[in-house]
């Protein structure tokens, strides 16, 4: 009973910190106030200062984590609502996303192998362009480390969010479809947030790209891992 109470405490604490940082983020709109980043930092400091083992925190934390699976399923709804956009532009959308996912995974493997990282870390970096819940599951299934995978997903997201527009400009990628697919395929939800600043069409493209690249990535991940083991 005491342990359940402790678990409930950590679950409630996580939700409370998230709601607090989320409302601060919505109010001030500063990239560094990103709720995931800020909540993670605050909770990490609490654990370190209070000398609380991660496993103890996860007794409650894992309750929240169980919502990841259903949340991935729920992504089918926004994709379904974008189906007209998807099917009228099927070829450019699918070819762009597929190329992006392949380039992302191939370059990730190439660079990590170049510096002789362990197989575990290579498989952790592999799904970095996918949306966090999918990336964590893919990394976990392949033998990578899910929580580290989430960190790399965040690095990819911030990269796309901060540097994406400059890169797109430089490459003369100036159409709604090019910008949206580029941002969504490489930087998932963060890229989609940036795409919103261009306009509704870019944002729709980006959210379609985020969802479809997660599906492609989940399909391609085991193939890439298998090639790696050859």
């Amino acid at each position: 009973m005491e342990f359940n109470l402790l678990a409930a405490f950590f679950a409630v604490l996580t939700v409370a910190i998230y709601l607090l940082t989320n409302s601060l983020y919505l109010k001030y709109r500063k990239t560094l106030l990103n709720p995931v980043l800020a909540s993670t930092a605050i909770i990490a400091v609490i654990l370190v200062v209070g000398n609380i083992p991660y496993d103890t925190y996860m007794m409650g934390g894992s309750w929240i984590g169980t919502l990841l699976g259903p949340a991935v399923v729920a992504l089918a709804v926004p994709l379904y609502k974008q189906r007209k956009l998807l099917f009228t532009n099927l070829l450019p959308i699918v070819s762009g996303i597929a190329t992006g996912v392949v380039v992302g995974m191939a370059s990730g493997i190439l660079f990590t192998q170049l510096f002789r990282f362990s197989e575990e870390l290579i498989l952790t970096v592999l799904p970095k362009s996918l949306t966090t819940p999918v990336a964590m599951q893919v990394a976990g299934n392949l033998g990578g480390i899910p929580s580290l995978a989430a960190v790399f997903v965040m690095v990819a997201g911030f990269t796309g969010y901060i540097v994406g527009p400059a890169l797109l400009n430089w490459l003369h990628i100036d159409s709604a479809i090019g910008r949206g697919i580029g941002l969504g395929t490489s930087a998932h939800g963060m890229g989609t947030a940036k795409a919103f600043e261009y306009g509704q069409q870019e944002a729709s493209m980006s959210s379609v790209a985020m969802t479809l690249s997660a599906v492609f990535g989940a399909l391609l991940g085991p193939v890439a891992a298998w090639l790696l083991l050859l």
Binding site: T14, Y18, V36, I43, G61, I64, G65, L67, P70, A71, V73, A74, L75, A76, V77, P78, R83, T88, N89, L90, P92, S95, G96, I97, T99, G100, V101, V103, G104, S107, F111, T112, F117, L121, V125, S129, T132, V134, Q137, P146, S147, V151, F152, M154, V155, A156, T159, G160, L167, I173, D174, I177, G178, G182, S186, A187, G189, S213, A214, A218
Partner: protein, 124 residues
């Protein structure tokens, strides 16, 4: 009444998720069960087997807090602090450069393909 709708729809989403996990396990599909559930739900919506309004507000509610669900996992990074003090630091620029390449490839190919096939030009 709205809250009851949302709860029932969340149960439906969880149902699709559990079916996805079951199907994945039974056929040994090399995909996460959640992605199998996602594909089943998308197919059910496309084929009009399952109506959108029976899942729409539940999905909207669940996705509104999406980033909350992976915070417990990202906190797990406290266990890997030492990784980023050494050679592991290199993984950050690797991810950044790989993200550039991904964006360039995806954006360029989709823009080029869209322009090459004008009858499929983007419409909203």
């Amino acid at each position: 009444m709205k809250i009851i709708h949302i709860i029932l729809q969340l149960l439906a989403i969880t149902g699709f998720y559990l079916i996805g996990e079951g199907v994945q396990d039974f056929f040994n599909i090399p995909l996460p069960g959640s992605i199998v559930g996602f594909l089943l739900l998308f197919a059910a919506l496309m084929l009009k087997i399952y109506p959108l309004q029976w899942i729409d507000s539940g999905a909207h509610f669940l996705l509104a807090f999406l980033s909350l669900y992976f915070i417990p996992a990202t906190v797990g990074v406290v266990e890997y602090g030492e990784l980023f003090s050494g050679k592991g630091m290199l993984l950050i620029p690797i991810v950044i450069i790989s993200t550039f390449l991904t964006m360039a490839a995806a954006g360029w190919v989709s823009q080029y393909t869209a322009k090459a096939s004008p009858e499929r030009k983007e419409r909203s």
